[in-house]
């Protein structure tokens, strides 16, 4: 009988909690993003916890820096509010985060950070008319059929094509192998295009190996088979974290090979504890390098390091540019900050598809297609003496 009383007690407590939470859910609607005064509420969505947390946190910090700068530079003008919500790199949670931001009174969206969640958010934002500029979700599905979603990074297919062209022309005799993450949207997206483009140039890939997020520690099997196939250039359409693992293990195996990475490789030099001499001679496509001589980049890197105690990766720079692009474009719409999310969306689409250009850390004169893609061209850099050198 004790059991029974207990279940009732628990039921009552649980129900009370539930009601409280629902009330809290409704109550917080009014909190947060009141457009008091001259403020524009910018929402962000990205993984702040879980396995992809580093990308979301970089975006959060990068955007925060831009927002602080803009607010400090012009205290009487439009003030920005930056609110980043966690999606745990999960489509379901990202839609929840989006809805939360709408509840909070979001006017413009930066995000989502990763492709799969961004695809889910994009269709919600499209139906609900929210203007979205994603700093880093590079999959083509993000913009497909959504006139309100724009990308600030170059798209996966673009990178695949650019890499294939570069390798085919500059390394015509190389035996090319690939290691890609088959459980990752970004990686398999680039690989697909790379393969078809490279084979279209009349060449064959010597070996292709895959791995998944669950098995991203041991690469000896993959490296052995590439080595046996005589591969002397490995194309790595993956992020720098597993790439550092690959380089370490290849080095231990005594496998000397050229690596060609894409923009996900950026960050490898700042990986704490990583022996950067292993990354010497790595080729990569990148829109941003923290070692650039460019003054804006230098200031950004300095401010970022001071504030967050780490070197910014490309995601942070992309987010920083996103904030400025949105700020500038919003100025061009001629709308006041009291405009509704829907009105801002239509006006921003007009600006972005017009002759609007934005310049920032990752590119000069960025221009957008109506499809949502940005016209950035991937640049090839090589790592020499622990620095990126443009090729």
């Amino acid at each position: 009988m004790k059991n029974k009383k207990w279940t009732k007690f628990v039921a009552v407590v649980l129900s009370c909690m539930m009601i409280l939470m629902m009330v809290a859910g409704c109550g917080s609607k009014s909190g947060g993003g009141d457009s008091e005064g001259n403020t524009l509420y910018i929402g962000g969505i990205g993984p702040l916890t879980g396995a992809a947390a580093l990308y979301g946190n970089a975006v959060k910090n990068g955007a925060q820096l831009a927002v602080d700068e803009i607010n400090a530079a012009n205290p009487d003008g439009v003030q920005l509010v930056w609110d980043m919500q966690d999606d745990e790199h999960d489509a379901e949670k990202s839609v929840n985060a989006y809805n939360k931001l709408v509840d909070n009174g979001m006017q413009v969206l930066i995000g989502a950070v990763t492709t799969a969640p961004c695809t889910a958010v994009a269709s919600e934002a499209n139906a609900n008319r929210t203007f979205a500029l994603t700093p880093s979700a590079s999959g083509p599905a993000v913009t497909e059929g959504n006139d309100n979603v724009f990308q600030l990074c170059f798209s996966d297919p673009n990178q695949g094509i650019a890499s294939a062209e570069y390798i085919a022309t500059n390394y015509p005799d190389a035996k090319v192998g690939v290691i890609y993450n088959n459980a990752d949207n970004y990686s398999s997206g680039i690989y697909d295009k790379f393969k078809s483009e490279y084979e279209a140039s009349g060449k064959q890939l010597a070996a292709v190996e895959a791995f998944s997020d669950d098995a991203n520690a041991d690469f000896t099997a993959q490296l052995n088979s590439l080595k046996n196939a005589g591969v002397d250039l490995i194309f790595l359409p993956i992020y720098y974290t597993p790439a550092s693992n690959i380089m370490t293990q290849a080095n231990k195996m005594g496998y000397d090979v050229t690596y060609f990475g894409v923009d996900g490789m950026d960050g490898i030099l700042d990986l704490e504890g990583f022996d950067t001499s292993l990354a010497e001679g790595v080729l990569l496509l990148t829109p941003f390098t923290p070692y650039s001589e460019d003054e804006a980049v230098q200031n950004f890197v300095k401010a970022y390091e001071e504030k967050f105690n780490e070197t910014p990766i490309q995601f942070a720079a992309d987010a920083y540019d996103c904030v400025y692009a949105i700020y500038d474009a919003f100025g061009k719409t001629g709308l006041g900050t009291d405009a509704s999310m829907e009105d801002i969306c239509e006006a921003m689409i007009g600006v972005f598809t017009g002759d609007f250009t934005a310049s920032g850390l990752t590119a000069e004169e960025m221009k957008w297609e109506a499809s949502g893609e940005v016209n950035k061209t991937p640049k090839v850099c090589i790592i020499e003496d622990g620095k990126y050198v443009e090729k």
């Binding site: 207990w6 007690f9 889910a120 998944s212």
Partner: protein, 380 residues
């Protein structure tokens, strides 16, 4: 005086219909929670009292409730630990997406497409349940658990390399990156990227109907001859065998029904988002569903309903904690588990409940007499 007596008798009869025995009581409470919850939330949403954030969770909450109910069939009623429920969900979800994509051209009604998606999800998940269930149900306890875990991981790994596409009206699939004659947006499922461009057809009402259906199936199964056999086997396998119950058959029934229901819930889930990746159905999701079941009280169906609702809303309600959100979630989970299951705390809280419940106090004596009869039934 006579009238009053009649009223009393009527009330008693009513009470009997709804709360007459344990099964009736469970059914009344479970259906009650769902229906009242549905009405309240619909009213609240229409009146604009409920924010988008909560409204957006209506369908997933229904899906998770369905999953909790169906997993309860295996964990609570059949007494086996399953750690691969997300695998069945995955099978159902991707089948549902393929079916709706194939029907999109010929069938304009979203609800009809959704119905067939859910139906197809149930069928494929049931087949998966039979395939995995027949060989493994001879295993005991934690060994069965690990095999279901393995099953879930295998499904996810295979989905990571499976490609489906439409070539005209023909459905094609492949294990590599190119499907002959299928380009770009004719692709339905592209390996790890999963399905993109899904047209959303799930609504709160249809999701709730599915939940009610799941509840109906599970409660009726529980309250049938089959259900009693399943529970007899759970309570004592050898005793069950000795009175002629075919242990394997009944375990399989529970397992396959649970799988089919999970497939249906998965199909509903897949129809609620424009994209779906195999990564969603990983070990963590299986565990999450198990958490609903255990937190709600193993075998207690309406407890599972409450727990699924709460734990789905909880991470969203914790958003104000910002960076500490998931940490808080973990702490809440641990504390709630300890408070719910720790014997000392349970006993104390039972005493508190006795004091604050007025009806209990009034009927204390009567209840105490009844206790002796009921304890036998309660202790399962």
């Amino acid at each position: 005086m006579a009238e009053r007596k009649e009223n009393k008798a009527g009330a008693k009869r009513l009470r009997n219909i709804f709360f007459g025995n344990e099964y009736k009581k469970e059914a009344t409470i479970s259906y009650g929670i769902l229906i009242v919850g549905y009405i309240l939330l619909q009213l609240g949403a229409n009146a604009g009292l409920i924010g988008r954030n909560l409204q957006g969770q209506f369908v997933p909450i229904c899906v998770y409730i369905s999953l909790a109910i169906s997993l309860n069939l295996v964990v609570g009623i059949s007494g086996e630990l399953s750690l691969g429920h997300a695998g069945f969900m995955s099978v159902g979800a991707f089948t549902g997406i393929i079916v709706t994509r194939m029907m999109e051209a010929s069938m304009p009604s979203g609800n009809v497409r959704l119905f067939f998606a859910v139906l197809a999800g149930a069928i494929t998940a049931a087949i998966a349940g039979i395939i995995i269930g027949i060989p493994i149900l001879g295993l005991r306890g934690d060994y069965l658990a690990i095999v279901t875990l393995a099953f879930g991981e295998i499904v996810r790994n295979i989905m990571n390399v499976l490609y489906f596409g439409l070539d005209g009206k023909k459905l094609k699939f492949a294990f590599n990156h190119t499907i002959d004659g299928v380009e770009g947006n004719q692709r339905i499922i592209t390996g790890a990227i999963g399905a993109t461009g899904v047209t959303k057809t799930a609504t709160f009402t249809t999701a709730m109907l599915l939940t009610l259906f799941t509840l109906f199936v599970v409660l009726n199964l529980k309250n049938s001859k089959h259900g009693r056999c399943i529970m007899a086997v759970r309570d004592n396998r050898i005793a069950g065998e000795s009175i002629g119950i075919n242990v394997k058959k009944y375990k399989l029934i529970a397992f396959v029904v649970s799988a089919a229901l999970a497939g249906m819930a998965g199909a509903m889930f897949g129809q609620n988002y424009s994209t779906l990746a195999p990564l969603k159905f990983n070990f963590n999701t299986s565990v999450l569903i198990l958490v609903f079941v255990v937190l709600g009280g193993i075998g207690n169906i309406w407890g599972g309903i409450l727990a699924a609702t709460l734990l789905t809303i909880l991470p969203e309600a914790l958003r104000q904690f910002a960076d500490y959100r998931m940490l808080t979630y973990a702490v809440v989970l641990i504390v709630v588990m300890i408070c719910t299951y720790n014997p000392t705390i349970r006993a104390r809280a039972g005493m508190v409940w006795e004091k604050i419940s007025p009806r209990k106090r009034r009927k204390k004596k009567a209840e105490e007499a009844a206790d002796h009869d009921e304890t036998g039934k309660e202790e399962m």
